[in-house]
Each structure stands twice: as C-alpha cells, then as structure tokens.
Symmetry: C2
Subunit: 352 residues, 2 copies
DNA sequence: CTGTTAGCGCCTTCAA
DNA sequence: TTGAAGGCGCTAACAG
C-alpha cells in the first residue's frame, strides 16, 4: 500500500534547515547557497521527496496541465495530432488532459468549462463547428490561454495554428492537372468546419484560375460513410469525372472503397486524392495520393503559441499556417499526359 | 482577462452563513437544513461559484483525474479504447490524463511516476512489455489503484480487463476451417506482449486440437510494417498456405497490402484474418474478416474495476475477459468447402 | 543567505 | 443544524 508521503517539512527537518530554505533549494528560483542547495537536494533524494502537485497548484494558481479537445480521438487524424501534442507538451513538463467533443457543440462547451474550472495552463482545441462553437470558445479563451488547432472559429480572436489548406489544394489540383485531368469534382466537408470552407474555396479558386469546367461539388462531413455514399452518387451519374478531390483521407478512403463496389476502377476510370496524410492513405488500395500535414510542426507551433500567451495574455493573436507536402501514390498514377509534356507511367518525378 | 474568481468564502458571505455551512450545503454530504441548502445553492449559482479543484484536492488528497497510458495513441486500436474510456470516465466525472509510452519501458516508468506524483485517482495502463514493465507497474500499483488493460504483466498482481484472446482465435480458426483451410500460418506479435503470447498459445492449441499441420509462425511486432515484410516472406516461400491468421488488424492490413504487391490475391490464393475490429478492417481491400473487441464493455469494466479498488484497496484482483465477436468479410470469402459440407460462395451464414 | 509567517481554497472535527 | 478553527503542502513576502 501507498508508502506514506514525505513532505517538504520532512525534508527541511531532516536537512536541518527551514521549510522555506528547503523550498527555495528545491525549486532553485531564489538565492540559496550552493552548499545548502546540494545538501537539501541530497536529503530530498534520499527521502524520496516529491512535490505535492496540489499544494503547489493551490499556491500558484495552476498545475502543469493542458487541456486538449478534439472531435473524436479514435479518428486517426486526431490521433496523430494528439500524439504529437503529447510529445511536445511532455518536453515542457506539461500533462495532457484529453476530452472528446464528439463533434457536439453542447458537449464541447461542457468540456471547455470543465477545463477552465480545473484551471489548466491552457487549452488546445479543434473546434467542432466553425460558427456554433463561438460562444463556448470565446468564453474559455477569456479565462485561459487558448489556441485553436486545425480548424477554427474565425470570429474567436484566439491564436490559431493549422495547415495551409489553400496550398494543399493547389498542390493536389496541380498534380491532377499534370496527370491530364480537366473534369475534377470536389467531395468534401460542408461549411460547418473551417477546413471544409477553406478547402472548398481554394478548390473553386484553383479550378477557376485554370479555366477548368466547374462541376457540382458533393458536400457533407469528414467521414468514411460519406465517402462511401458519395461514391455511389458519382458512379451512378456517368459520365465519370477525370478525378475526385476528397476533403480528407477518410472521405477519400470511403470513395475508393465505394467506387470499387460499383465497379469503377481507381485510377484507371477516375483518379482520387486525399488530404492529411494519415496511415489510411497507405492502407487503402490503391494507396492514396494526398497532402501530408506536418503534424509535429503543427503541434510544436501550437504549444509555443500557448506558452507565449501564458507569459503575455494580451499579445496579438498568432495566425500560423504550415505547409503540407504532396505525397504521390497509386490513386492518381494514370499515364495521362498534359497537352505538351508526356509523362511516363509510374514516374515519381514531378513535372513542372 | 479572466474574471476574478469567486470563492466559497464569497458565497458564504453573500448567503449570510458560515463558510462551513456553505461547504456542507454545496457538497451535500453533511446535514444542512433544506432551506439553507437551497438558499446557498442559489447564491452560489448567482455568483457563478465553481469549486477550486486544487483547494479541494489538497484537502482530499486527490483530484478527479485518472491517468491512461497506452503505447501509441495514434494507433486506431488504442484510439478507440481511449475514446471509450473517456466516455466512461466522463460519466463518473473523472478527467483523463493521457500519456504515450511509445512502447518504451523507460518512458513508461517515467509516465507512471508522473501520474503517481500527480496523485491521480487511478491508472489504466496497456503495459508495453509483458515482463520488462513489471517493476514500474508494480511500483505504481502500490501507490494508486491500477488496472491493466488489453495486455498485462502476469506477475503484477493488479486488476486486469481485456479481450478473451483464446475465444477470439478459436472463432477465427474455426471460421477458416469451415472455409476449408487446413494449412494455416500465424503472423503475429512475439512474446513481448501478453496479447501476443496468448494469441499464439491459443492458435497452437487450436491447430493441435484439430489435427491440422503445424506451420512455422512468423513473429515480430504489432505493426503495419511487419505485416508488409511478412507478406514478402510468405509470398517468396511457395507453396502458399491456405490462410494466414494475423495477430491484429494492423498486421493483417500490412499483409494484404504486401501480398498484393507480390501478386498474391486475397482471398483466392490465401485467406487472411485480423484481430480487434478497428476501422482498418473496413478500409483495406478486401475488407478484413476479424474479431471485434467490445471496446465499450472493456472500458466500462475497467473503470468499474478502478472505482471498486478506490473504495477497497485490498479487494482480490479482478481478472476479466470479455468475448469478442466474429465479423466475416471478404478476406476469407473463398468458396472452399470442408470435406463434408460444401459451402456456397459469398454466403454470410455461419455453418456449425 | 536563511528563518518566520501568512495565506492559496477547501473540508471537517469539535463545540455550541 | 450551524459556526469557529485547524491544517492539507507549498511558495513568497518580509525580516534578519
């Protein structure tokens, strides 16, 4: 059973100094003689002393915990994000309290309040709704440093770190263009998420810029199921487009699986691209051409923003967009050639 | 700017009662008149009072947090497990502090110590190594309620909740038998995890029981990469077996992808099964026949065990095995018939 | 450089 | 049923 706890008092007594000196020696913040510091440290070590987090927290006003709220932790994309965050936070000796919002605004509000009440050092959140999340997010941000991750509520004046959706979509459309595609359809998230909005806007812009035909997008949610059903819609409405740009890897994976069931062969009949670069891209068949999010960089940047705001509550809001990288794979490996430069099949090199 | 905090003192003053009465009224544990309780509650409400978690924790010795340690949160299997745990814990108003061990024993020890130091209510851990994790796990279990989940260190006398591996493997081998397989190869985890050990033992037993030929297993780790490389090994060493039982969905997915690259067609040339029932099973092509773990049940049982031990530190250790369910899919949809009963192709019904 | 002292906010024993 | 008071463990003035 739990060995009895040794307190600072015990250390002080054993070391023959006052409790204040012991505290100072151990935290190292204030001036204490080298000798006593060493002595106290040794005694503490010997006694197996560990600070009582609650005592310190009560005094300091916060313990070293950061709250992270994502829609669903079981989604591999958020899994990777949380994984990277955990890594970054650990390097700063911060613990990670995790909470699922289930994509539900009420639940999200409840979790935010909980984190604020626990007086976490800060909150990292992937807001579930681009507008409906506003109140709860703003309220929380008022009480504790908060950074929005990946998605954002535009109206909430908080720090934000995420991928450069515009660049990602441009990379994909450009890639498809090189592969000879002209009729490209978007199957993505509706406007409930900022990522959905931004990717759609970027897509429209890119299509317009290239003077490609404008096809009706199919929009719903970032789910496998949606991808599956969208595949049916597309398969039934022949003629097929040259390519489909999916809102994320999950949708793309659903599309590929669904198209297969309808006898449509990817990439021969239609090319498909994803977004995120999760493990799903490697698993589905054909493997998915996608843009890979720089998970570690994003997490590092988010933590940096959080710590910065901890020190300076009223610093101007950070708005950081990190560039994704194109990863070409089989789902777009079609030997179609652009008007001028014929590209050999299976060539990994990127034509310009 | 954080609105200034209202404390119990404020509530008491505003309500015209002592701080003790206010406390009693709000926690509801002790006897207070109905009237004052209502009154104090109303005042607290009006003032927007929220207990200070640290004050209470300092007093009570613990805050309402539970630590969860998994090898890698980005692995969909652990993602689902954590998701279910979060759900269960929330229902008991417990927060979830998450930590990755990265499958590394030293890291695991460090995280365990951190959780103990934070005086969490309890710890749920998927130990990374069936034997090397012993010291750290036992040490932590000595200080705080701890339940092992999914995998376990046998020597550590703690509560355990996990899937019934024996039953799962039996379901799979039986299914393959019905499909006419006799030469079945195991591609799974080595003995560093209890899940690996148990599944292997169950497999050997099942093969022996049926008098099937004993083939050399290929063992390593629960990773996609291992599945990929094992596929190469198998593809090169013709003749092919009838079927492959993979240690989990990740390995199975790697196998399927790898076999495809080597021109081996699943299930025509060889059938493949998974284990866990993660989303990967639905995504890979052909979709994976696997046994589905009852995630929610497992999580619920784990939390129940934890709470039980919170109340009674010396209760006898719980050892709970929950039954998985077979989910048949395309990766074993081969119209092979057992000697006596011919089974039609694509039949979903389970022969007995 | 070091010791004394005063809380941080809360719960609970002890009295009334 | 209610109030007064102590103390959980820690850190940061404030003295010396």
């Amino acid at each position: 059973m739990a060995r009895d706890t040794v307190t600072l008092r015990d250390v002080a007594d054993a070391a023959g100094v006052s409790i204040a000196t012991a505290s100072r020696a151990l935290t190292g913040k204030n001036r204490v003689s080298k000798a006593t510091t060493a002595h106290v440290s040794r005694v503490a070590e010997r006694l197996g002393y560990r600070v009582n987090v609650f005592g310190r927290a009560l005094r300091e006003g916060t313990d070293g915990a950061v709250g992270v709220i994502v829609p669903v932790i079981s989604n591999p994309f958020y899994g990777q994000l949380v994984h990277s965050l955990e890594e970054q936070l650990r390097e700063h000796s911060l613990e990670l309290i995790i909470a699922d919002s289930h994509g539900d605004v009420a639940r999200e509000r409840e979790r935010l309040r909980m984190l604020v009440q626990r007086r976490v050092e800060g909150i990292v959140i992937v807001p579930s709704d681009a507008s409906a999340s506003l109140d709860a997010v703003a309220e929380a941000a008022d009480d504790v440093p908060l950074v929005q991750l990946d998605r954002r509520v535009e109206e909430a004046p908080t720090d934000f770190v995420g991928v450069d959706n515009e660049r990602g979509i441009a990379l994909l459309v450009n890639h498809l263009g090189e592969r000879g595609a002209t009729e490209i359809v978007l199957v993505a998230s509706d406007d409930t998420t900022s990522a959905g909005r931004e990717r759609r806007a970027a897509f429209d812009r890119e299509i317009a810029r290239r003077g490609l035909p404008v096809l009706e997008p199919i929009l719903d949610r970032f789910t496998l199921e949606f991808g599956l059903s969208a595949a049916g819609t597309i398969a039934r409405s022949r003629p097929l487009p040259d390519a489909i740009v999916a809102g994320d890897d999950l949708i793309a994976t659903g599309l590929i699986t669904g198209l297969k069931r309808h006898g449509v062969v990817v990439p021969r009949d239609v090319m498909v691209t994803g977004f995120d670069g999760t493990m799903l891209a490697d698993i589905c068949d054909p493997a998915l051409t996608t843009v890979v999010q720089p998970f570690d960089q994003i997490a590092a940047e988010a933590v940096r923003a959080l710590l910065r705001r901890t020190k300076q509550r009223d610093a101007p809001a950070i708005y950081s967009r990190l560039a994704p990288a194109l990863r070409e794979s089989m789902s777009t490996a079609r030997p179609l050639a652009p008007p001028d430069t014929p590209a050999p099949a299976g060539d990994d090199a990127q034509a310009s």
